[in-house]
Symmetry: C2
Subunit: 214 residues, 2 copies
């Protein structure tokens, strides 16, 4: 048992949130969850703080913690930061260790395999891994950590997307295109390609959210 109880509780809650079991906006009652998971309120509160740190839940003073609700503004902002981090990764690709460059290729390939299987949740995961790998080209622990937090947040927005397939399928070929440009050393073109890619994806999500909100 190398992890604390609070960390294990946080892991359970994280999974429930990511699976959509705890929908955005729902309150996490200290008493109810404590009884459910068999931990004390104090420990549960520590777990809440860990999740709040990942922006998965929101802590309002004297009101409790709630599963985060993302608005269009949040999505726009997330994509802005992603743009900065992933672009920096692409610019650093030339100097990146081979292992990091291979991680990009691997992620693209796995997304294509998952698509062949029709496993769209897996495609979503592999797609995020691809972008994580792009940012990872910077070889920076802090960039990696920031990227992990951003993508975890973004998963919350995915819950509002009706069809994972319609959202992810068009981007598969574009993932591969960027990967090819990187392999050929055409970093400038890869970066512009990535920028329009992110703009399109963002627009798609924002439009969908605005549709839903009616």
């Amino acid at each position: 048992m190398t992890r604390s109880t609070a960390q294990r509780v946080a892991a359970v809650l994280r999974e429930r949130v990511e699976r959509g079991d705890l929908p955005p906006g729902s309150q996490l009652s200290e008493e109810a969850l404590g009884l459910d998971l068999g931990v004390s309120r104090n420990t549960l509160r520590e777990a809440f703080r860990l999740l709040a740190h990942e922006s998965l839940v929101e802590h309002r003073l004297n009101r409790g913690v709630f599963v985060r609700v993302l608005g269009p503004d949040d999505v726009i902002d997330i994509y802005r930061v992603r743009g900065a981090l992933e672009s920096a990764g692409v610019r650093a690709a030339a100097l990146a260790p081979p292992a990091l460059r291979e991680a990009v290729t691997t992620a693209v390939t796995e997304a294509e395999w998952a698509a062949d299987d029709g496993d769209w949740p897996a495609v979503a995961t592999a797609d995020l891994a691809f972008h994580r790998a792009l940012a990872g080209l910077s070889a920076s622990p802090r960039v990696d950590a920031a990227m992990d937090r951003l993508l975890a947040e973004l998963r919350l927005a995915f819950h509002t997307m009706p069809s994972p397939r319609r959202f992810h399928e068009p981007f598969l070929v574009r993932n591969r295109a960027i990967e090819q440009l990187l392999a050929k050393g055409e970093y400038a073109r890869a970066e512009t390609e990535l920028t329009t890619y992110l703009d399109d994806a963002r627009q798609l999500i924002v439009d969908t959210m605005r549709e839903e909100r009616r």
Copy 2:
């Protein structure tokens, strides 16, 4: 009382750390600090989590929390991320709201005033505000938050610098130079100038740390 007790305790500890009262590496004992500040261990632990979130302290399981010790690797990494965020800000400068652009100029001016007064701690603060303003040109809450965390971390490294004056003085004129380039709309030149600026600053800190460690 709009802030919780834990937040107030965290603020006190944050100040002690930033003032060098609690030197890097020292342990924050739960019992001793609880007695000192008049709060229970549980509340103190909550404050510790908040500080750990800012990377000011480090939490080791079953061992307690310690004031963060920065190594050369950390400084290098922090400057890498700073480079990405501040560069992105400079690239976004053309589209940034006037208020954000003015914040850049204000920070440079305040740094110069503080230097005239010989108040070098204030110069350090204004210098950080300048770089925060550069990143702020992206107009992104998440970039702002990330930048705040990075600069708070970096303050820890400043404690190992012997003379604030020798470190900050040479960069004052370069701050102004970058600000001028931005004002003239020469964004590309501003970006390359910024990049070499950050490289130099990083090198200075890293060299100093390696000196100290003997």
